[in-house]
Symmetry: C2
Subunit: 465 residues, 2 copies
């Protein structure tokens, strides 16, 4: 029936509108626009020309392919209408500048979209999935070249970001950018984060950024749920640590206790102990925090005495208490059980402690004795022998390595020689490691062999003046 | 006159003996030995045969070139002596095994010496002046293959080391090995160190090792003189720092005051302030040291407020006092004057402080505000924008970078992303930096642009439960 037919046409028109709503801003949407016009032209009712004209005019102001052809089609359309000449000329006059503007934008946008492989499949390993090219397009849209109002502008950026995510579903930074685009609409941003977590369930960055987003907007329970879901799906030390910090800020810290009961692999590593101890130390008030931190480090030592990195984090902490006896007994306790294969950094730190941190400036004899014990404990390690074994004594920040005083020595043995003391934080700029000499590690056996003959004098006590 | 002639011959013989004393153990000394024999054979006195025989026998027990020819020459010599047949046979019988042993050693030593370019000129830049080859020879001599007694063995090692130093006069490790060889003869070792300082006057390592050698053997005044000479000839911060530590051990510390008055370039850099402050803190007793350290850091801040590394060393120190207000005012004071070109690490540390070290766990709003201030202060730094600008929040030790949770992100932006927090000492093993994606720094402009739209909610206070 004509009624049915009319309803069917209405449905079709709505389908076209929906499609154009989603992708009508694409330069490739010209096909949909022309099909839409074809469809409308089928309508033989006299009022149809109003709909057709409207769609022509909408399409002609959008930067799409073949605008010139569409313009000609539109001209023919207007000219085919009887007694329309004057009206048509006026319409053309008003519309022409818009078409020209659209053509200019089309040229710019096409230049940005053309290099993109829009059919590229997302990859977990490709570190450069046309990142520059995508950025250029997204920045172009962010700059709002068409000067449209905010919702339309957002739609255009969203279209670019979604096109990008179709090819780069595993790029956390794009998801994040998308979520931030939706602000200040918190719910919309959260929805994007949820899609991101679904796309990259293993990503800690995405989940943490999501949780922080929720926390920032006072949605503490939702944030908590994000951490819980992360622990459920991908238990990890870094998640416990980040959760612990959040919990401390938001509702007091019970997470460390729970972490300790989590036996899943990689869940409660020594890093969690270090983080918990330092959180108590810095986050606590007065000396209570310090004692709790000490307790946590001691607790950790029972499980992780063989982990140099954990031990050194404990040493770092103890270093500022200036409790030399405690420090020495920690070193001795650890070195009595730690396998030589991993103990070098702990020996190094022990020596550095005696050299630079002991009360009254320490004494050289203790340093030399430790150097000898280290050399004996690590017989195959050439960096503990000869002059290389002494370098640690003199290193301070990057002074020695950076100065020209011993340029040849550091150029030859640089990668073997000591790491900087004093500059305790790695965010300080570090010089690139010196290129290793071609002879590799064997070359320092020279340094090793002389050590047999290095002896402490019988009278090892220094006379102080 | 015959008297004069005899005296002249005596002088010549002594010259030969001196030469052989110095280089007679060289495999190349055969020429001197044969010339010596030639010279002795000129002597027509009947007793000359005793000297000649003795020198033949000495030479034949030494691993030198052309021992077979020398042996034949010696046979002829004995056979030419009338009525000597029985004696000669006995002598040959006793001597032959010694010659065979010498030939065996000669073969081994020649194989080690042959590859060496004994005429190579010392170089200040060549990082591999046949290091392996030299080491092999020196180790061979150290192992005492001829089983000679200690003085002769030392002479042989010394000969190898001196040959080595002739080609590698600027190798501090060889000088050190030589000095250690001379122990327990402290004076002899000191003499070697003096030669080393003369050869490498610019080397701090050589001077410091010399000073430590003297200090170890209770020659504190001599050690002090070594530091003074170093400051005279090559004033440097590292020398002041090492001297300061020595002085603290040996006679109390007045060096820092003196360093501060030294206006020579590179003499009293910020490193000296940091070292002095920490020496007072760790070396002092009780809270006095802490206050002195604070004073020194404040003194340094007046001169070095623009030096990120100095500021961060102060921050490191303050971090353990848990004095949040002091910490924040230090950061604000520094960042108000530090040029943006170098301030990134200080901003990073400020953010990390608020994130991980503030009392009660800090709050996220402060962190976000700081991130925004950092992004505004460093508009061209893509690592302060987008997700890259957040990564610092979540980094703990190397957990995040090492886990597979965000492998693609760190593979793409690894070298731009945050340095580890928590693992405050660089001696902990560090993973190699991720390879930088080919697109370089432009690629992260994607991360930058979205930040315009990142806003704090109006209600920035978190509700705590």
């Amino acid at each position: 029936s004509p009624e049915d037919k009319k309803r069917a046409r209405q449905t079709m028109a709505e389908a076209f509108e929906t499609a154009l709503d989603r992708v009508g801003m694409s330069i490739h949407s010209n096909g949909i626009w022309t099909q839409y016009l074809h469809f409308l032209k089928d309508d033989k009712e006299p009022t149809a020309i109003f709909s057709i004209r409207k769609v022509f005019q909408r399409a002609l102001s959008i930067p799409i392919f073949h605008l010139d052809a569409l313009w000609k089609e539109y001209e023919q359309f207007e000219k085919a209408i009887p007694n329309n000449e004057v009206l048509a000329q006026n319409v053309f006059k008003v519309l022409r500048p818009k078409v020209d503007a659209a053509k200019a934008i089309f040229k710019d946008r096409k230049a940005l979209v053309d290099p993109l492989d829009l059919d590229a499949l997302p990859s977990h390993t490709n570190t450069n999935p046309q990142i520059d090219a995508w950025n250029k397009w997204i920045e172009f849209e962010l700059a709002n070249p068409e000067r449209v109002e905010r919702p339309k502008w957002k739609a255009k950026v969203r279209y670019a970001l979604e096109s990008c995510l179709a090819c780069r579903r595993f790029s956390a930074e794009v998801w994040f950018q998308y979520a931030m685009l939706e602000l200040p609409d918190v719910a919309a941003a959260s929805a994007v984060f949820r899609l991101a977590v679904a796309a990259m369930p293993q990503s800690c960055l995405v989940r943490f950024a999501f949780a922080d987003h929720l926390e920032t907007h006072a949605l503490v329970d939702d944030a908590r749920a994000v951490y819980e879901a992360a622990l459920e799906a991908h238990p990890s030390a870094i998640t416990y640590i980040t959760y612990m910090r959040f919990a401390r800020r938001a509702f007091g810290n019970k997470i460390f206790k729970r972490a300790r009961r989590d036996a899943r692999e990689g869940a409660c590593t020594f890093h969690v102990y270090t983080a918990a101890a330092l959180l108590e130390f810095h986050g606590g008030i007065g000396d209570d925090g310090k004692q709790i931190a000490l307790n946590i480090f001691e607790l950790g030592l029972k499980k992780f005495i063989h982990e140099p990195e954990f031990v050194l984090s404990y040493v770092d902490f103890l270093g500022h208490t200036n409790d030399d006896n405690n420090m020495r007994s920690l070193f001795e306790k650890v070195l009595s059980v730690m396998p030589p294969a991993v103990s070098k950094p702990v020996w190094d730190r022990f020596i550095r402690f005696e050299q630079t941190m002991a009360t009254n400036g320490g004494d050289l004899t203790s340093v030399i004795r430790l150097e000898q014990r280290r050399a004996a404990a690590l017989p195959d390690d050439s960096t503990t022998k000869g002059l290389l074994g002494l370098v640690d004594r003199y290193v301070w920040m990057h002074l020695l390595q950076d100065s020209k005083s011993d340029a040849l020595f550091f150029a030859t043995y640089g990668t073997l020689a000591a790491s900087p003391a004093g500059a305790s934080d790695t965010s300080a700029p570090q010089p690139p490691p010196a290129p290793q000499a071609s002879s590799g590690s064997i070359k320092s056996s020279l340094l090793k062999s002389s050590d047999m003959y290095m002896q402490l004098p019988r009278c090892s006590l220094l006379t102080r003046q």
